[in-house]
């Protein structure tokens, strides 16, 4: 009918124009069922058009540039703080993070700028409470800038000048903190090169921070930068042209301690040449002569650092820290409640003699852990390697999953070599594909070696070419082609890993080698399903997760002893739960069973142990079992972020925050470009109630991954902990803008509205949550509990927390450490709540 056709076309035109229509009227005007259905479909298209329009409208509008504000990159320059030969330092404002930062804008010609940016990125690798946090380095308008946290306070140099020398005890405490700082710098593969009293700041609040990496550089042999440290602090071997090393940094730290207790230096001279000559002729002052009142143990500790022969000094900053601690029986700041393994590790790093090492080894009962330590003893340095995605040579894009699988499995096999730190796939992927040259891998990831290759799969054969490249020089160290009939990829990748491992790390123990080459399955069909499933899982898209489940169920059906497939299946079940794609009743038992089966079939597979630990932690509440599985995974792959991160989270829930911090930091070292990993370190600081450190790390996460929404939420939680409720609200809203609205976010808003005194807004938001809860919809029960806690209504707070437990206790696993329930801790009902969770108070 013409009139109908016109009406329908008019509706279509309105959709195309972006104009609204009265759909109810349109449906009622329809002349037939068929037409009514058509109108409904047109309405769907209208919704779709709207969705597209709002998706593009929701772009963040850039700040209108104000003519009289000086800008560099995304920062507004506010005040010039100082200048030097390298460049100028400004106080600047980062609108996105809503906080001030220090911006160092370098002088320097164009051909130096690439290097400078790389240097800046080196510094960003270091994460430590006593090392200045560098957020990023970049180049705008022809100038290179490095922006970092703004420290308000004074230098150690100024303090000594104003207040006179420090006491030995004070100096030892400062020294211990700076030892930790140096250790972090060295762990990132860097040498500071300019440790001096002018480069340490004391922040208002007491935190000492090692700064000014102006002269910092990488630990590569033979690299000359032409920039030297300050002569009075310089180790003697540097005057003779030796390379800067951890030992020369230790020397400088020793001089610093000498200086702050005396106001003088061990070796003096008016010029660099004079100082050099003084070293050569052995003219030095003794600490005990200048300050006879110093405790001998302290004086000896400092003397050992400034030994003329680098080999006579401490091997590591950790050893120096231990010596200083012993002098006063001070416990270095992060020493509370250390578990036996970390205590053992601390002893080990300080020890030089074999006898002592063997004593430590003998004290540990588990054979597998003894093997790990044995490997470490013979090849003490942990080398960092980056595995680049292997290229898919078969021209079929549908085969990409196979090449991806090869890369993935090789990476996972390599993590089982104790003296390797393998960079996680996320950080590799965060680098643009055409900027993954060896030099960039070195500067951005700290990689000393890169592994790359290609995969070709023909009917019944597989051909893999693997190459090992030295990151600093780009030299090809090793290449080999493996051509095999189609077979178990785990065994083949294990063979490749073994070849690479022995070249990089030296001799591998027989046990390690055996574990590397272990086979997983003989069924090619099962393996194919497994590889395809893993490929799908990494998209984290709902539809594909469901597909992955089916593939993995088929894989284990084809081979009932396929441990790795059971591990991935367990993980997939976990994702289905998280995405609310299946009920707990249905999935939980499947998940727990699959994980248990995985670990019993493949006890030497780190992934199996991790997923088993996760299930025991989050679903079965078997803390002891979880800890045992995590530990086993860690013993198998001690530097893998896929083990360290979940274990760190578990330790948080258990209240073991110092160990949790250590593991979180180690995890971030293996995945430095991941917003999630860096953010995780911030989270541990949050639980430790170190809110400033928490915010610093969340900001660092954003520097690395600008739209990692949860980092804004992490900042909001920390701000709330500090009592800055208004700003916390602002940051929850920033998180929402990126991630989308969620009940947990709304609950946090309500909580902060209460604390900030916005009663009406609080009631409104809480009201919305209560309505959701009553109608049985998905909402945040525990969030409602937190809001009542903030209001001081304990009865209702406990009511809703317990209701949350009825629904899904996984969300209350962190009650022991969550600051939001601090006001409830004294109540007997809190103990009862913890008991319900199975946690010790």
């Amino acid at each position: 009918m013409a009139a109908d056709a016109d009406r329908l076309l008019a509706l279509a035109e309105a959709i195309s124009d972006g104009k609204a229509s009265d759909w109810v009227a349109a449906e009622s005007q329809a002349g037939s069922d068929g037409e009514r259905a058509l109108v409904r479909e047109l309405r769907l298209l209208a919704d779709l058009a709207d969705a597209h329009r709002s998706a593009s409208d929701s772009d963040a509008t850039p700040d209108p540039a104000s003519a009289d504000v000086v800008r560099w990159g995304g920062l507004e320059l506010r005040e010039r703080l100082g200048a030097g030969t390298y460049g100028v330092v400004y106080r600047a404002y980062d609108r996105r993070l809503a906080r001030e930062v220090a911006l160092k804008l370098l002088h320097g010609s164009d051909d130096m700028s690439g290097q400078a940016v790389e240097e800046g990125r080196l510094l960003a690798r270091v994460s430590h409470p006593h090392v200045i946090t560098v957020f990023g380095a970049d180049r705008f308008d022809g100038r290179v800038g490095i922006w970092m946290e703004l420290i308000r306070g004074g230098t150690l140099e100024a303090l000594v000048r104003e207040r006179g020398p420090f006491s030995a005890r004070e100096a030892a405490a400062i020294g211990a903190e700076l030892c930790g700082a140096l250790a972090a710098v060295h762990r990132a593969g860097l040498v500071h090169r300019d440790v001096k009293a002018q480069n340490v700041m004391r922040e208002a609040g007491g935190r000492f921070v090692l700064m000014d990496f102006g002269a910092g550089q990488e630990l590569t042999p033979g690299a000359q930068r032409g920039r030297i440290g300050t002569p009075l602090y310089m180790a003697p071997e540097l005057f003779d042209g030796a390379d800067a090393s951890p030992q020369s940094d230790i020397y400088s730290l020793g001089v610093l301690l000498f200086y702050i207790v005396t106001g003088e230096y061990p070796v003096v001279g008016a010029t660099a040449t004079a100082v050099r000559d003084a070293h050569a002729s052995g003219q030095r002052r003794r600490l005990i002569d200048l300050r006879p009142d110093l405790p001998p143990a302290f004086a000896q500790a400092v003397d050992l650092a400034i030994e003329r022969d680098p080999a006579a000094r401490y091997a590591t900053p950790g050893a120096m820290e231990a010596a200083l601690a012993r002098a006063f029986e001070i416990r270095p700041p992060s020493d509370e409640s250390r578990s036996w393994s970390t205590r053992a590790r601390r002893v080990w790093t300080g020890v030089v003699s074999t006898a002592a090492v063997l004593a430590v080894v003998a004290a540990l009962s588990t054979p597998s852990i003894r093997t790990r330590l044995a490997d470490a003893v013979f090849a003490p340095a942990v080398k960092t390697v980056a595995v680049l995605p292997f290229t898919n040579l078969s021209n079929d894009p549908a085969r990409q999953y196979f090449a991806d699988g090869v890369t993935d499995i090789l990476t996972s096999r390599l993590t089982m070599i104790a003296s390797l730190r393998v960079i996680a796939r996320g950080s590799i992927a965060a680098m643009p594909p055409d900027r993954r040259d060896p030099a960039s891998l070195r500067s951005r990831l700290g990689a000393e070696y890169a592994i790359e290759g290609s995969v070709e799969r023909q009917s019944d054969r597989v051909r893999i070419n693997a190459r090992l490249v030295q990151a600093s020089t780009g030299d090809l160290l090793w290449a080999e082609t493996f051509e095999r009939p189609q077979g178990d990829l785990f065994a083949l990748q294990g063979e490749i890993a073994s070849a690479i491992g022995s070249r990089v790390a030296g001799h591998l123990s027989g046990e390690t080698d055996r574990r590397l080459r272990q086979q997983q399955t003989t069924s090619i069909e099962a393996q194919d399903a497994f590889l395809q499933a893993r490929y799908l899982i990494y998209t984290f898209e709902r539809v594909r997760i469901a597909e992955a489940r089916q593939l993995l169920e088929r894989a284990v059906d084809l081979d009932r002893s396929y441990g790795a497939a059971y591990a991935s299946l367990a993980r997939t079940y976990g994702l289905l739960l998280e995405y609310n794609m299946a009920t707990a009743a249905e999935i939980q038992p499947l998940a727990i069973a699959a994980a248990a089966r995985a670990v019993s079939l493949s006890p030497d597979l780190p992934e199996a142990n991790v997923i088993d630990a996760e299930m025991k932690f989050r679903l079965a509440r078997d803390w002891t079992g979880a800890d045992a599985s995590y530990r086993q995974a860690l013993a198998l792959a001690p530097h893998s972020s896929l083990v360290l991160s979940p274990y760190s989270r578990f330790l948080c829930a258990m209240g073991q925050l110092d160990d949790a911090l250590r593991y979180a930091e180690d995890g971030a070292a293996a995945d430095p470009l991941s917003g999630e990993m860096v953010s995780s370190v911030g989270i541990v600081h949050y639980y430790r109630r170190d809110y400033d450190a928490a915010i610093r790390f969340q900001e660092k996460a954003l520097a690395v991954a600008p739209s990692y929404g949860p980092a804004y939420f992490g900042i909001a939680r920390a701000l709330s902990g500090k009592g800055d409720y208004v700003k916390a609200i602002e940051f929850v809203q920033k998180a929402e803008a990126i991630v989308g609205p969620h009940a947990s976010y709304r609950a946090e808003l309500a909580r902060n509205y209460v604390l900030a005194g916005y009663r009406d807004l609080a009631d409104q938001t809480l009201g919305g949550l209560l309505v959701e809860a009553r109608s049985g919809g998905a909402t945040s029960y525990e969030g409602i509990g937190f809001v009542y806690a903030a209001m001081g209504d304990r009865d209702r707070a406990f009511e809703w927390l317990n209701r949350a437990l009825d629904h899904y206790f996984a969300r209350l696993l962190f009650m022991k450490v969550d600051p939001r329930v601090d006001s409830l801790r004294g109540d007997a009902r809190f103990r009862a709540l913890l008991q319900r969770l199975g946690l010790q108070p």
């Binding site: 047109l42 772009d59 899904y808």
Partner: protein, 187 residues
Amino acid sequence: MSVESSVDLLERVRLGDKDALDVLLRRYVPALRRWARGRLPRWARDLADTEDVVQDAVIRSLRNLSTFEHRHDGALQAYLREAVLNRVRDECRRVGRRPGIDNLEEHFVSDGTSPLEAAIGARAVERYEAALQRLKPQEREGIVARIEMGYSYAEIAVMMGRPSADAARVAVSRALLRLAEELRNGG
């Protein structure tokens, strides 16, 4: 002033004309970037936002068009869209980044839904995509250009070789009606 069709520009690009490349990039990249954001989970935004990724995918595609045979601009657009989506999806895949709302307790209520899926539901998006495939190429391109990428009628007229903006509007509207019919019939 006449506006060159994309096909002509492409010919010039093949001959090494850098200005032509600039025009094509300016014509397609901003809209593709916007479009990509709507199609990907929110947490993948920084991947789509990175000028490099989208522009890179477009440049590579334009370079690889030696085997590509297209008859009209719409097909070029479709090809580029495909390339961009695959590229960004690959990046997501390689990153293996878990989306989440709260890294503190990891109760991942958020998932891999795109803003589009969140607005009308994943099932609806699936049906829409399937029905779209059943249309004629010109019809499909018109709808995508207008609804998904937000091009003006004048731009669409140029891209699709229509005589006027009005003609483009009529074509898109008719295509929408056809799409609705496919949706209804296809289930």
